[in-house]
């Protein structure tokens, strides 16, 4: 059975990948790609927490993170 | 065990849908050639089989046995994966589309929809818009300038029509109050007068135009228009990879036809003595015929005209439509 911990570990791993990207890349476009990975990783975390606590706040947060991308 | 049964049923349905739609896409190429020929006073394919019916088999054999050319400077993995993306996204979009009313077979009720998610409409449109990755990746990996131009046009076109199709579909959604295609279908089950096309004619027209853009069909096929960009993104493709693009395009056409029939034209609701399934088939065939008909009759538009009409005409109209609908609802 998948628990919240699984999702949080996944979020951590993805976040680590994104951070490696942010530090490794010098190209502007590639930097944007890496930041997208970071945001998405956090999104998964929020949604997982919201699901396992039966609370919609996490989802709302994830929802509000999404429009940041086009703004960028 | 119940879960397993559901999974098995879903897989069977998915296989059936993929097989049937792929076959229909192949048949649609034959129909297209015939209809275009008749409209231009020609006969079309006649020599393979009775009335050229086996022409699609011949085409299939040819595509499968043709050499798969990959240009030397192309980025190989992306080049190879792009047609697969185009075809899969077209088929994946069909997961949330109900085709027929539910029926009982051997005492077992079958819902002819692979997965009834409650955001079906958004899902179908989103996944269909992912199909733009096919042309995009193909164009960017081909190391060919025609292909790159085609890909650029694909992106521009997609950004334009996506706004229009999203906004135009919003007004019917406000009326119905659900994103599920089954709910939308049930909303207009009371005969022709209940069809949404009468309540939302503007949204219908806008959505139909956006559908033509989405499938890269005739008046808006700037992406692969021969006279301007040789074959657009597909310039470097040959054999079955090119064929996959083709299947994707026709599968998209079928999806859009089904979508328009369900949202605006009453879907699979039975009409008088005609059962619902037949109504659905009739509507879908009419829409596919309309796609071919328009291709035979109308000239192409330039990409700048396309963007102009999207952003300056259709988008304001869609917004006005939403506003009016909102006021009427209040």
């Amino acid at each position: 059975m998948i628990t919240l911990t699984h999702y949080l570990i996944l979020t951590g791993l993805l976040f680590a990948i994104g951070l490696v990207g942010v530090m490794r890349r010098t190209n502007l476009l590639m930097l944007f790609f890496s930041t997208e990975i970071l945001l998405n990783a956090v999104n998964i975390g929020f949604v997982a927490v919201s699901k396992y606590y039966g609370d919609f706040t996490g989802r709302m947060f994830a929802f509000f993170i999404m429009p940041w991308q086009p703004v960028k | 065990m119940f879960e397993t049964a559901v999974i098995v049923e879903t897989v069977v349905k998915a296989v059936i849908v993929v097989a049937v739609v792929a076959a229909m896409a192949g048949f649609a190429t034959f129909i297209e050639r015939k209809v275009l020929a008749f409209m231009q006073r020609r006969l079309g394919p006649m020599h393979v089989g009775p009335y050229g019916l086996l022409q699609l088999a011949a085409d299939g054999i040819k595509l499968f046995t043709k050499e798969d050319i990959i240009p030397q400077n192309a980025i190989k993995p992306i080049f190879m994966i792009a047609p697969v993306v185009a075809a899969t996204s077209a088929f994946v979009a069909m997961a949330a589309v109900p085709y027929f009313p539910e029926f009982t077979l051997f005492g077992y009720t079958i819902h002819p929809i692979i997965s009834d998610i409650n955001v079906a409409l958004l899902y179908v449109m989103g996944v269909a818009s992912v199909g733009i990755y096919g042309p995009l990746l193909a164009g960017m990996s081909s190391a060919n300038k025609w292909s790159l131009l085609g890909a650029a046009r694909a992106v521009v076109q997609m950004l334009s029509f996506e706004v229009v199709s999203g906004l135009s579909i919003l007004a019917p959604i406000m009326l119905i109050g659900s994103l599920s295609l089954i709910d939308i279908n049930d909303y207009q089950s009371g005969g022709i007068s209940n069809w949404l096309i009468w309540k939302q004619p503007l949204a219908f027209v806008l959505f139909a135009i956006a559908g033509f853009m989405e499938t890269n069909r005739a008046p808006f096929d700037t992406v692969e228009f021969e006279a301007e960009v040789v074959a657009g993104y597909a310039t470097e493709y040959s054999g079955m990879r090119w064929g996959l693009f083709f299947i994707g395009e026709y599968a998209n056409m079928i999806t859009i036809s089904v979508l328009v029939s369900i949202i605006f034209m009453g879907g699979y609701a039975p009409l008088g003595f005609i059962p619902g399934a037949v109504m659905m088939l009739l509507k879908v065939s009419f829409w596919i015929f309309l796609f071919l008909w328009v291709r035979a009759a109308w000239p192409h538009v330039r990409p700048d005209q396309l963007m102009w009409v999207c952003w300056k005409v259709m988008m304001p109209l869609a917004v006005v439509n939403i506003l009016i609908t909102g006021f009427v609802l209040i």
Binding site: - | Q40, W293, A297
Partner: protein, 204 residues
């Protein structure tokens, strides 16, 4: 003449300038034009035209290898040399007019006096690499000996395969089967001319 002079030159007498559609000056006119075009329903006229053709089902396809187009007598394809209907001997009397009039200089004939001290054409050839199919040879021939045929499928290994005398002359067996067609004259009307062309005004 510079480009500006060229653009300003007086050519009012020679040309008719087509102005085309007036360009819209401001946004309002552009909007009007769009509305007019949208509501006029021109697009549906196009749709109707193709649908009408489809319903009418007036197919003009010629399934080429199976069916062949019937060529009119004016068609100028590979030359034929005809035989006399009475005797079956060649019509050509070797006068050399065709050789003389040929503007492409592609006809070449060799003649000699035979045993009965009559002029006989021993060799006759047309270089189809040079022939422009002008039809002067057929026009000038006093005996209607050289004519243009209707054979338009000219695929062969060599051009010379059509240009020798034995290729062009009506074969004897065809002649005996009475299948040699008489040349109706250069510039003759086609067979169905009355159906396709109106009669001369005095006839009605």
């Amino acid at each position: 003449m510079t480009l500006n002079d060229f653009k300003k030159r007086d050519c009012s007498g020679d040309y008719i300038f087509f102005e085309g559609e007036k360009k819209s000056e401001n946004g309002w006119e552009a909007f009007q034009r769009v509305m007019k075009r949208t509501l006029k329903g021109e697009l549906f006229v196009g749709l109707w035209v193709v649908l009408r053709e489809m319903i009418r089902f007036d197919i003009h396809t010629l399934k080429y290898p199976a069916e062949k187009m019937e060529m009119g007598p004016r068609y100028r394809a590979i030359h034929r040399l005809l035989r006399l209907f009475e005797s079956g001997s060649e019509r050509c009397i070797g006068c050399g007019l065709c050789e003389k009039i040929c503007i492409a200089k592609c006809i070449r004939m060799e003649t000699r006096i035979d045993e009965k001290s009559r002029k006989e054409v021993s060799e006759y050839s047309i270089n189809f690499g040079r022939c422009i199919f002008c039809g002067y040879c057929a026009e000038v021939c006093p005996e209607l000996a050289i004519v243009h045929g209707v054979e338009y499928e000219n695929a062969s290994e060599q051009r010379a395969h059509f240009g020798l005398k034995e290729d062009m002359l009506t074969p004897l067996d065809t002649f005996r089967a009475k299948e040699q067609k008489e040349f109706s004259g250069f510039g003759a009307l086609s067979d169905h001319a009355d159906e396709t062309v109106k009669q001369t005004p005095l006839a009605y």
